[in-house]
């Protein structure tokens, strides 16, 4: 197990360095730069926020951000700053360290993702159970059709549909804000509904397998009802594999809330990441991209460890491999 973990951590570190390098290169290859924008508009009132930045300030900024250093030095500053959690300040918000932005924005995104996963699971369980209990009946076919439909719709499209229904037509729910519980209903549902399709289908199939097993036949043979067999026996066993589905879903959601944060103007990391990419805010792009990468790598490791815990064969394969 220790060897397995050590090996996976080593892979993670290599993957992290590769991701940081690719992100850095892509960022540098993108035309335009934050300071280029500042210089171009010096004296032209096109961009008010950049108006009149003096050459002295420009000089100081270029030195402060190592922009005249070789590329590998610049890259290493970002990676080292991230690894030691001593990141610099953002271009866009020069009075604010990127770590401060991340410290407030990332937990927001995590909370949003957790709420979405919890909501998704809560909705998926009754759907999956109902479908499994009426295997191949019209209810099963109907529910699975809608589940497939939900899976096919991306979160941003679901968001638009929900906005039209609950805000534009019914005026029941807010479309902007993050201070009241009701502010989160539409964003959470937008993220949760596409997930419900996959989760409920997975649960249905797993539950049907369980329902066809001998121990369930035994329960029914002893006079237990189907409902009792499902809720008391089969569901417990069928929920276990769902854990392995929820893990990647959570990782995907934490990094996939970008569109939803933009649509509902929520102060999550995705919101800042999009803004940073638009204005070529290199420190914020790098630090948030590295954080996203770390989260995905960590979640994958966690899922692999969970597999290992539940299935010794995987653990052994890791040791041997």
């Amino acid at each position: 197990m220790v060897r397995f973990l050590a090996r996976r951590l080593a892979y993670m570190f290599i993957a992290f360095l590769c991701i940081s390098l690719v992100t850095f290169m892509l960022m540098k290859m993108a035309p335009g730069s934050f300071f280029n924008a500042n210089f171009q508009v010096n004296g032209v009132s096109a961009v008010a926020g950049s108006y009149g930045v003096s050459p002295q300030v420009m000089d100081a900024l270029i030195k402060y951000y190592h922009l005249n250093d070789p590329w590998y030095v610049q890259w290493w500053y970002y990676v080292h700053g991230f690894l030691t959690w001593h990141m610099g300040t953002s271009f866009e918000y020069p009075g604010t360290r990127t770590v401060t932005i991340i410290d407030t924005a990332f937990p927001f995104s995590v909370r949003l993702a957790l709420m979405a996963v919890a909501t998704g699971v809560i909705i998926a369980i009754p759907i999956g159970v109902t479908a499994a209990m009426r295997e191949n009946g019209w209810m099963d076919v109907g529910l699975m059709f809608f589940a497939m439909l939900g899976t096919s719709l991306p979160a941003y499209l679901v968001a638009v549909l929900l906005i039209v229904l609950f805000a534009l037509w019914l005026h029941l729910l807010p479309v902007i804000g993050f201070t009241h519980p009701q502010d989160f209903i539409l964003p959470v549902l937008s993220l949760a509904l596409p997930m419900v399709g996959a989760l409920s289908r997975y649960l249905r199939n797993s539950l049907i397998d369980s329902l066809h097993s001998e121990y369930v036949t035994g329960v029914i043979a002893k006079g237990g009802s189907l409902s009792r067999a499902v809720w008391r026996h089969a569901l417990r066993n069928s929920l276990l594999p769902m854990i392995t589905v929820v893990g990647p879903q959570l990782a995907g959601l934490m990094t996939g809330t970008v569109f939803i944060e933009e649509i509902f103007d929520l102060p999550g990391l995705g919101h800042y990441f999009v803004g940073a990419a638009n204005v070529r805010d290199y420190p914020l792009i790098m630090d948030s991209a590295l954080l996203y990468a770390t989260v995905i790598l960590a979640m994958n490791l966690l899922v692999d460890l969970t597999y290992g815990l539940f299935d010794p064969r995987i653990r052994r394969a890791g040791d041997l491999g």
Partner: protein, 576 residues
């Protein structure tokens, strides 16, 4: 019991959602019908903090009611008393008499010494340098020694601002400036900060509501950069503050203000052209629609090119006269724009501007192009329009007009913002000429403030660069590289421009400087018209915002200088 347990989770969730919805419905109806005193509107929030010494959009919010300076704007850009209750001008000396009961939000009194400290702080180049931003003092107000201080040639203490006692403030100017009050009402550098709170503190205090101390009717209560801020009344304000709360939402191209307004979550909304017909056809909403002309104009400016075609005046004028601005305003913008005749001087500021401008005249445009050696557009290089928005229907419409009227080949390059910024200074090859789209805006509502103060100041604009021939433009492009220090780059650019600019441009610049120096209105008009007849810049339209305003909101006088036209003074806003 177990059955109940099985369904409890979904039912609980449904109940929470239903209760939340009910709560929201009540809150929404209360906000919109009972005049709860919460006013919500959109404006630009750049997340840079509220330091009035810096040129940021948040600092501009400071100016409309979070801080209060000597004066501020009233209805129709009249000058209203702020902390100063009266003032008098005597040549180059202006004396302001301050109210005695003004206080910061922490209870500290606002004194003349605080103004001196704050203005010195804003003019001091070290303040902006430490914050890695631009100063809110742009050097366009002729306070004595300000320029020398900016250039490092004089100490900050020599600035022509002094306190005479606790409640009298005196400015000494380099020259008489009849537009001073208008500039004070517009600028942030004159807003007082509390030295006892600010001195020696890092810039981060300006993004933390706990440490932002201001003297306006409202203070920052909560602030999430680029997302939302909430203002509450300053408990020490000298007069009654009319609202319980103001919520500011960030304006962005993605923000659907119309939807938020319809959902009762905002009291104002700036409509996109696509929204206008629906609102006009809605009997309720059409009564809430207001049209607000801004000071922001969409212009096309000649791009640097190795091809000399646009160095001919007749060619540039032909392109200017081939654009039917009225059709663009009516059919493309659906009324959200009106024809523009200058980048900064708008029709609402100067009604005479349209009269002397180059007018739409397709026949004359064709003659001019033919006289310049390109009859029917034959032999004319490809024209590229570079724009920073995708799509850009205005650029497409202009391209179509030029193709149909002048017979030239036009391509529109709609690029994302970063690419656009990188491409705008590239010199086009010898088989191409082009225009670059720029938004321009006057800083003050008085068109006379757009005059050039001196020739070197005017060199900061692009016109002298465009007027240079292709070879020198290529030299200029080399100066843009990062290999040279910005200070040196700036100096060499100025030298290059001074050596190679067109005599026509120099003559018009000299006229503007003379008009400004003599404060001669007729000469100023002549300069503005002459500048536009050079046709290096083709103004297309001035933004005419279609704004929905909740009928329960009163006292909303729009700040036309900004694209998003927020209230000119939040202290005027009341709600039923």
């Amino acid at each position: 019991m177990k059955k109940v347990g099985r369904i409890v989770a979904p039912v609980t969730m449904a109940a929470v959602m239903a209760l939340s919805m009910a709560g929201y419905s009540q809150a929404a109806s209360a906000a919109s019908s009972s005049g709860s005193g919460v006013f919500t509107f959109y404006t630009i929030d750049d997340g840079a903090g509220f330091d009035p010494a810096l040129f940021t959009w948040d600092a501009r919010q400071s100016q409309i009611g979070i801080f209060e300076g000597l004066v501020h704007f009233g209805p129709n850009f009249s000058i209203a008393q702020g902390i100063a209750t009266s003032w008098k001008a005597n040549g180059t000396t202006w004396t302001f008499y301050l109210r005695h009961n003004a206080r910061f939000s922490n209870g500290d009194p606002v004194t003349a010494q605080d103004f001196v400290y704050s203005i010195r702080r804003a003019v001091n180049p070290q303040t902006a340098a430490m914050a890695h931003k631009a100063s809110s003092f742009q050097g366009d107000v002729p306070i004595k020694n300000a320029q020398k201080i900016i250039e490092g040639a004089a100490p900050v203490s020599s600035l022509g601002v002094k306190a005479i006692g606790n409640y009298t403030l005196q400015f000494t100017l380099d020259r008489p400036d009849p537009t001073l009050l208008s500039q004070l009402a517009t600028d942030m550098w004159q807003l007082p900060v509390d030295p006892r709170v600010v001195q020696g503190k890092p810039e981060s205090i300006w993004t933390n509501p706990q440490t932002i101390v201001s003297d306006g009717p409202y203070m920052v209560s909560s602030y999430v950069q680029g997302t939302q801020e909430i203002l509450k009344p300053n408990p020490y304000y000298y007069a009654k503050v009319p609202l319980q709360e103001i919520k500011i939402l960030p304006f962005s191209a993605n923000a659907n203000e119309y939807l938020t307004y319809q959902n009762h979550q905002s009291d104002t909304a700036i409509l996109t052209p696509q929204d206008v017909p629906a609102v006009k056809n809605n009997p309720t909403l059409s009564k809430q629609l207001h049209w607000v002309q801004t000071a922001v104009s969409y212009t096309l400016q000649v791009s640097p090119s190795m091809n000399p075609a646009f160095s001919k005046l007749a060619v540039r004028q032909a392109f200017a006269e081939a654009v039917n601005k009225q059709v663009i305003a009516n059919n493309v913008l659906l009324g959200t724009g009106v024809p523009a005749y200058d980048g900064k001087v708008t029709s609402w500021m100067a009604p005479w501007i349209a009269k002397g401008a180059l007018q739409y005249n397709p026949t004359q445009a064709q003659h001019l192009l033919a006289a310049a050696g390109y009859p029917g557009g034959k032999g004319f290089p490809t024209v590229r329009i570079l724009t920073g928005s995708n799509p850009d229907p205005i650029a497409e419409a202009v391209a179509q007009m030029w193709q149909q009227t002048l017979g030239v080949n036009v391509q529109v390059d709609s690029e994302n913002w970063g690419t656009y910024l990188a491409d705008m200074t590239k010199v086009l090859p010898s088989n191409e000429v082009g225009f670059t789209q720029f938004g321009q805006s006057a800083a003050f509502p008085d068109w006379k403030t757009t005059m050039p103060l001196n020739i070197s100041g005017w060199q900061r604009t692009n016109v002298p660069i465009w007027s240079m021939s292709g070879g020198y433009q290529a030299q200029y492009e080399k100066l843009q590289s990062y290999t040279m220090a910005p200070g040196q780059k700036n100096l060499e650019s100025r030298m290059l421009i001074a050596k190679h600019e067109s005599p026509q441009v120099r003559a018009v610049m000299a006229l503007g400087v003379k008009a400004q120096a003599t404060n001669n209105a007729a000469l100023m008009q002549k300069y503005v018209i002459a500048k536009n007849h050079l046709a290096y810049v083709i103004p297309i339209y001035t933004v005419n915002n279609a704004v929905l305003i909740n009928p329960q909101v009163h006292g909303y006088y729009p700040m036309r200088m900004w694209l998003v036209t927020p209230p000119v003074w939040l202290g005027y806003i009341t709600m039923n």
